[in-house]
């Protein structure tokens, strides 16, 4: 790589020379069968939920990884999801069908509705994320949202009714057959609009979706993964589908095939011919074109797909460094995914119950996204859903609105010279808005409240990626004590208001510590 030489500090240099402590997790995906201890439960919950429910966490200690992961999945499938607070079946008038002088007004009316309702939808989703403390449903849903990206605020704003339906699709597909996920997202209304699927017709094939289908949603970028011809031909395979939100047209929000816009040419994708030797109707085309395209993709490019998708899953749940795609665990996981019929549920269970996942060297290594750091913190120090939506937007992670089709860059891009002091300031402001008494009473419910060191450990369990070494934790304890000897803490703690003042000081110190931004 270019001239860069990684800077190596003196002590790290000597560490490297004289010790063999380059700590890496075991790569094995074999099941971790020991009963989970507290740190392991917190590790698992932090990767599966946006915020921690302390009593739920405590109830899991001593269970096996398999038991807990099954519970987190079952809880996800058993949740009832309320409808968002707007008319999800509302249609819109097509401004282009109106006289010229009414065009702009009607268009503005539609856009205003799309923006306002998408904001409601984002806040609705944030609320679901906050309340989901006992399942991995929202983390998985968000993983798919950041994979099958759709921006409501694209070139042409997408109605919240579409975005809601896509969100429902992500929940419906959730974990299971990846092939059917690819089939369904291909004819999802928001996706048809976002990547011009609705404009993809036999006389003017639009390659936008076909390209992203391969590049971003299934096969991934790579030498020899697919050719421009594969994209061109796949676009023709996918011609004719449409969804509409305009009242003047057929059933709104229901994707359908325009039979006469479907290309009946013979196409060749991944060296496989797609012959239209059947009656062209929606059922046949779905089966012989879309389903077949996904089947061919998995048959011919299964290795690439499995590596790509498992790389994403690994980054979502273990370590978000994009360079991990090539690691042995991802390769092993990909092989497992392939040999288990591309079942994402089996793959995620395999990953989350593995020795690799629970290895202490994998605790606290992922960099928190704004979503993770804000929801983790505001589970204890409340912010309204609206304030959260705005904060996430400010930090570049507005839900339903990734920066472009390739999604959020993630990883280290979340912590930079602008955002880091911003986070410190935001969390300080939120904390300062709470009364000393409130903070004291909140702290008094934590484990080991009456022991200064024990209390700092509880705080670290909640907010840090991993509980740090004793010397690092002492720093927080010193802030908590504010010069008082540790044995006087119970006395200070007896007055919740005074305790609140001290806990605030400790937390403000914690905001500055790198561990706070790791998960």
């Amino acid at each position: 790589m270019p001239v860069a030489i990684k800077s190596i500090s003196r002590s790290a240099f000597f560490d490297k020379l004289f010790s063999n402590n380059n700590l890496r997790a075991v790569s094995s995906l074999d099941e971790y069968t020991s009963p989970l201890n507290k740190a392991e439960v917190y590790h698992l919950l932090k990767r599966c939920c946006y915020s921690i429910d302390v009593s739920f966490a405590n109830s899991l200690i001593g269970k096996t990884a398999r038991e807990v992961v099954n519970l987190l999945i079952n809880n996800a499938t058993n949740r009832t999801i309320p409808a968002p607070p707007f008319d999800v079946n509302q249609g819109f008038r097509n401004p282009q069908l109106l006289p010229a002088e009414q065009y702009q007004d009607e268009r503005n009316k539609n856009l205003t509705a799309h923006f306002a309702q998408n904001k409601q939808l984002i806040e609705w989703w944030i609320d679901l994320m906050r309340k989901d403390t006992k399942s991995l449903g929202e983390k998985v849903t968000f993983m798919w949202h950041s994979h099958f990206t759709t921006q409501y605020e694209g070139n042409e704003p997408i109605s919240a009714q579409y975005m809601y339906r896509q969100n429902q699709l992500l929940r419906r597909q959730f974990l299971g057959d990846f092939k059917s996920f690819l089939e369904q997202i291909t004819i999802d209304g928001a996706m048809l609009q976002y990547l011009n699927g609705s404009q993809n017709i036999k006389d003017a094939p639009n390659e936008n979706y076909a390209r992203e289908l391969f590049e971003l949603y299934s096969v991934g970028i790579g030498d020899g993964h697919y050719t421009e011809d594969d994209i061109r031909e796949a676009a023709k395979v996918l011609t004719g589908w449409k969804a509409t939100h305009f009242l003047e047209e057929t059933e709104i929000y229901q994707p359908y095939l325009r039979v006469n816009q479907f290309s009946t040419d013979t196409k060749t994708v991944f060296d496989t011919e797609f012959v239209v030797d059947y009656e062209v109707n929606q059922t046949n085309v779905f089966k012989n074109s879309i389903q077949k395209l996904m089947q061919v993709t998995l048959d011919k490019k299964g290795e690439e797909v499995s590596r790509f998708i498992m790389g994403k899953m690994y980054r979502a749940f273990v370590y978000n460094n994009p360079d991990t795609d090539e690691n042995e665990t991802v390769k092993e996981l990909a092989a497992y995914f392939r040999s288990n019929g591309f079942d994402t549920k089996k793959a995620l269970i395999k990953l989350l119950t593995s020795q690799h996942f629970f290895d202490a060297n994998n605790h606290g290594i992922s960099i928190k996204s704004p979503l993770e750091s804000f929801l983790n913190f505001t589970a204890h120090f409340d912010l309204s859903n609206e304030e959260l939506r705005i904060a996430l937007k400010d930090y570049g992670q507005e839900l339903l609105n990734p920066p472009d089709v390739s999604g959020w860059k993630g990883y280290r891009s979340w912590v930079n010279t602008k955002s880091l002091p911003g986070f410190i300031e935001s969390f300080t402001t939120i904390l300062n808005s709470k009364s000393d008494l409130y903070v004291g009473e909140w702290a008094s419910k934590l484990d080991n409240y009456n022991d200064a060191y024990g209390l700092t450990e509880s705080l670290a369990l909640l907010f840090f990626g991993r509980v740090p070494t004793e010397s690092r934790l002492k720093k927080v304890e010193n802030a908590l004590l504010g010069g008082a000897p540790y044995y006087e803490w119970p006395e200070i703690a007896a007055n919740k208001e005074n305790a609140g003042i001290r806990v605030k000081v400790a937390l403000r110190d914690m905001f500055k510590m790198p561990e706070f931004y790791l998960i």
Binding site: P2, S9, L23, N361, R412, T428
Partner: protein, 545 residues
């Protein structure tokens, strides 16, 4: 500033460089290495015009009837309003907004010898996506395909040369803005600090962890911990030198009260305060004028008005402050816009564009003459005359005093100087540099009445031209002009007449001009393309070196 040394002087650096690749290009070996100049205090200011500036309405081809009649019937700048500035023979004029600002704005800068106008800057196989094209400009790499990742920026890689034993007093780069740019992303570190308000940064600098924490372990946790720790240390460290420079510096020129002017005012003050930062970037957005671009008085005019005011105040300020001999600036935009206006009174994403360079040390000339002389390379877009990396290379070699070896390392290759002479006064001609990009001779604009090959005006044989020819890697583009709808198939035979296989499966094309990216099979030598158009046969020779 701490003494910084080039890594190239260390054996470890050479070893690392020797095996590297930038993009997918192999770098030449060490023999191109030559001694670098003494490190200097020169400063670069980059003005980003986000969205794709409409170069044709910035430097106007005002004696070109097509501009008014065909390309911009609604969006042209009226001839009597545009401002002639260069040799009248060129037939170009400035948008009147460029006279806005102190001393007649950017027009005044040209008159006073402080402005270069470089027409037709772009790159091969242009990408028309904002994101991708911005990434291409930032990375300084023209990818072979859309899939190639562009993880680092050219300035990030340039500043990767410095080993970060201790932080320098001043940051290498400052981006006046909110979000990190790929431009400054190096292999392992970012070379820029994000800055909006020095006072705020200073306060924030006090709020972060300011000490480097030694965890004493090598692990993934330590990698990420150290990364976050270093972000904090850098903010704390640099916030002090930035604040000091801000307090020490001043402005001596008035600026317009808008965002870009405020950004440039801050940059001038930091330079005056003695900050040793090498690169500053500022930005103005809103150039994506797909709809309602407007002619005089429209959105685009407003944007140019702001740009001219900001740049001219900055130049005057930096002159009055006595630093102008060491500061040059360039404007950068991800692409130009198409000559033909669209149906929504706007212009769509295009290709080659105008670029400005400013400062005491730039040549006050117009390079690349008039865009009217640039042919269309496809049915809608202008060919380019200068590769944007030529400008980056010249900045590194002439302005920063970098060796050719280093600039080649950063850019993955060598590039021609602008018109073989370069846009900076102190640039020396260099015969070892490759030739300039070839501007195609054929105008592919299908609607041009002056296009002798236009299917609208001529009936004749279909035309096929391969370029580059000879090709070094077997890749080439076949330009194809069809006058009748036909089935086209292309196969390859070698000079002995052996069939080498199919390069293009039979496919139906409507009349028009096309570019077909193709790749030769087989090794070096002369190859013959057998092009079947309906029942007619065409043969084109292509040489692979």
């Amino acid at each position: 500033m701490d003494r910084r040394s080039f890594i190239k002087n260390t054996s470890v650096g050479l070893g690392a460089v020797g095996q590297m690749r930038v993009g997918q290009m192999n770098l030449s070996s060490f023999d191109s290495l030559y001694q670098v100049d003494e490190e200097n205090d020169n400063i670069l200011v980059i003005v980003q015009l986000f969205g794709g500036n409409d170069g044709i309405n910035t430097i106007i081809p005002h004696e070109w009837p097509d501009y008014y009649d065909r390309f911009r019937p609604r969006l042209h700048i009226p001839s009597d309003a545009s401002i002639g500035f260069a040799d009248p023979k060129l037939g170009i004029a400035m948008h009147p907004s460029l006279t806005n600002g102190v001393n007649e704005g950017m027009l005044g800068m040209y008159k006073n010898g402080k402005l270069s106008v470089i027409q037709g800057v772009g790159y091969q196989n242009p990408n028309l996506s904002h994101f991708r094209s911005t990434d291409i400009w930032f990375s300084g790499i023209v990818p072979y395909n859309d899939g190639q990742k562009l993880p680092t920026g050219w300035l990030g890689r340039y500043f990767d040369q410095y080993q970060n034993k201790e932080l320098p007093e001043s940051p290498y780069c400052i981006h006046v803005g909110e979000s990190p740019l790929l431009l400054f992303q190096g292999e392992n570190k970012e070379s820029a600090i994000l800055l909006e308000d020095p006072e705020e940064l200073f306060d924030q600098g006090k709020s972060v962890e300011s000490e480097k924490i030694e965890l004493g372990e090598q692990s993934l946790f330590a990698d990420e911990f150290n990364y976050i720790n270093e972000v904090g240390v850098r903010i704390n460290h640099f916030s002090k030198s930035i604040k000091e420079a801000f307090d020490r510096g001043s402005n001596r020129e008035d600026y317009q009260a808008d965002n870009l002017s405020n950004q440039m005012k801050l940059v001038a003050r930091l330079i005056d305060g003695g900050l040793k930062t090498k690169v500053y970037s500022v930005s103005l957005g809103g150039f994506d004028t797909h709809a309602g671009q407007g002619a005089l008085g429209g959105v685009h005019s407003q944007l140019l008005y702001q740009m001219s005011a900001a740049i001219s105040s900055f130049q005057s300020d930096i002159e009055k402050l006595g630093h102008s001999s060491k500061v040059v600036g360039i404007t950068v935009s991800e692409f130009g816009r198409r000559p033909y206006e669209n149906a929504s009174s706007g212009t769509d994403h295009g290709t080659a564009n105008v670029m400005f360079a400013f400062g005491d040390e730039v040549k006050p000339e117009v390079f690349g003459s008039n865009v009217a002389f640039l042919p269309f390379f496809d049915a809608e877009n202008l060919a380019y005359r200068y590769d944007f990396r030529s400008i980056y290379q010249e900045i590194m070699r002439t302005w920063f005093g970098a060796s050719t070896f280093l600039s080649e390392t950063v850019l993955g290759g060598k590039f021609a100087l602008i018109d073989k002479v370069g846009f900076l006064k102190s640039t020396q001609p260099d015969a070892s540099l490759p030739a300039e990009p070839v501007v195609p001779e054929i105008n592919q604009d299908p609607k041009s009445p002056n296009n002798p090959y236009s299917p609208y005006s001529v009936t004749e044989q279909d035309k096929f031209t391969a370029f580059p020819n000879p090709t070094t890697d077997g890749k080439f583009v076949l330009s194809m002009i069809l006058y009748v709808e036909s089935d086209v198939a292309i196969s390859q035979v070698d000079f002995k007449g052996r069939e080498m296989g199919e390069l293009l499966k039979k496919k139906n094309y409507r009349p028009g001009s096309y570019f077909l990216p193709l790749e030769l099979r087989g090794g070096a030598g002369l190859h013959i393309l057998h092009i079947k158009v309906g029942h007619r046969n065409h043969y084109v020779k292509v040489m692979k070196l």
